[in-house]
Amino acid sequence: MHYIINAQPMDVIADPRTSLLDMLRDNLGLMGTKKGCNQGACGACTVLVDGERINACLALAVQYEGREITTVEGLSGGSDALHPLQSAFIEHDGFQCGYCTPGQLCSAIGMLGKIERGVPSAVTADLSAETMALDHDELRERMSGNLCRCGAYNGIAEAITKVHAKVPA
């Protein structure tokens, strides 16, 4: 099966039962993406497929053949520098143990893309609005698919807010 993973074309041989998460970790050695609950509840396995966040644990790898996958290893775009969101997580103490962090990062990047494209959430008051703001409630609602058992939520929220503020509108 062929994929573009972190901008690199890759061919993988895997059983149809293999989840995208297991393929990344076990077949390709990309251990950044984490296995938490393995049932779509915790978000630790979140990766980006063509820029959209998904739970890699619930994805059959075979179903995503030919797609562009971005994991935490690919967020910096191949450079040694960190992605601005990674730096912001460090600056704002957006983690303690770090296990949920790769998922939080990928999820937040996918989420910010949705904000930019004007996609509403459950707490958006006006569904007809063209642009979406990222206030306190919006951020928490939109990130509810990512759990942090250390409870570093305040730092996570600060980091995301900071990076969002810097993105030119």
């Binding site: 979140t46 994805a59 179903q63 949705k114 996609v119 509403p120 459950a122 509810s144 698919g145 990512n146």
Partner: protein, 328 residues
């Protein structure tokens, strides 16, 4: 997970052929429920036929109706400009469910056909008539806080977990189905079954029937509509009770109303009795309360979920109150 073969169907007819040729075949949408069930050995298909690419369009029609392709993701539907403008209730219900990640994966048809989240259904060590017909039900005398209060049977007290379907029930949505014998349509409210003695049979569809789309008929006039969901935490949890409500109020009188409940039954529950009690009545709290009483008159609670009867009544009253601008 048992071994299986994966195929991408070229078109609806090819998909139906593949599933007809293999008795243990299943259609695959986003996989968010099916993959989980396969991992738990609840589902053991030998062949998965991926139908997600067959129909993803959201067609805004001139007559005010919308036809949503079965493979459209939950996110795509909720974010669609026409859906947001014509059927905001549907966007609201979808956005109330699951997480951003899951909505990006899950399809419309997969949402409709998702299985219950009854914990005994998932637990191979438990008895479950839905998983193994005739085995018995451990939920009825077990931990049943999330279970049904309406339309349940001695065989099964599971609920249908969808938010989207509750809105579709209220919106009189029509499901487009392609089968071995041709195309047909089924109203969403008639698609799911009550459990009766066969809780393993959840819909009126056959295994080969392929959902190709969902049609939202045009709304004749400006309804006020909203979706209220009550759950154990503020986000990313299934409904204890949810209400999809639409009203047309003229001069203080309810000219028409559509009401559906989620989290209370084996299917998205259209509240026909409450609607009948409301039509033509004054839009007051008393009318709402009487209608809620009428709808829940036959409700039955189990050890842990009896609170949902009162909760459902209050949700109906509060949601209708919100719609007429009364502060509940």
């Amino acid at each position: 997970m048992n071994p299986f073969t994966y195929e991408r169907a070229a078109d609806g007819a090819a998909a139906i052929r593949l599933v007809s040729d293999n008795r243990q075949a299943k259609y695959l949408g986003g996989g968010t429920n099916l993959v989980d069930l396969m991992r738990e050995q609840v589902e053991r298909p030998k062949l998965l036929v991926d139908v997600t690419a067959l129909s993803r369009e959201i067609e805004a029609r001139e007559d005010g109706s919308v036809l949503i392709g079965a493979g459209a993701t939950n996110t795509a539907v909720a974010a669609d400009r026409t859906v947001r403008e014509r059927f905001p209730l549907l966007s609201r219900a979808i956005l109330a469910g699951a997480s951003g990640q899951i909505r990006n994966m899950a399809t419309v048809a997969g949402n409709i056909l998702q299985r219950t989240r009854c914990t005994y259904f998932y637990d191979e060590a438990a008895r479950c008539n839905k998983r193994e017909p005739g085995a018995g039900c451990d939920a009825i005398d077990g931990v049943n806080r999330i279970h049904a209060i309406l339309g349940a049977s001695p065989s099964c007290v599971a609920t249908h977990p969808s938010d989207m379907c509750v809105a579709l029930a209220a919106l009189d949505a029509v499901v487009h189905v392609q089968g071995p014998g041709g195309d047909r349509t089924v109203k969403l409210v008639d698609l799911h079954r009550l459990p009766g003695g066969r809780p393993d049979i959840e819909t009126v569809l056959d295994a080969q029937d392929l959902i190709t789309g969902v049609e939202l008929p045009a709304l004749g006039f400006a309804w006020r509509a909203t979706y209220r969901k009550v759950r154990d935490r503020a986000s990313y949890a299934f409904a204890l009770v949810s209400v999809a409500a639409m009203v047309d109020v003229q001069g203080g009188t309810i000219r028409d109303v559509r009401l559906a409940l989620g989290g209370v039954a084996h299917k998205p529950w259209r509240a026909w009795k409450a609607e009948e009690a409301l039509r033509g009545r004054l839009a007051t709290r008393e009318s709402f309360a009487q209608a809620a009483e009428a709808e829940l008159a036959d409700a039955a609670g189990l050890r842990d979920n009896a609170f949902k009867i009162e909760l459902a009544k209050r949700c109906i009253v509060a949601t209708l109150g919100d719609l007429i601008g009364e502060t509940a």
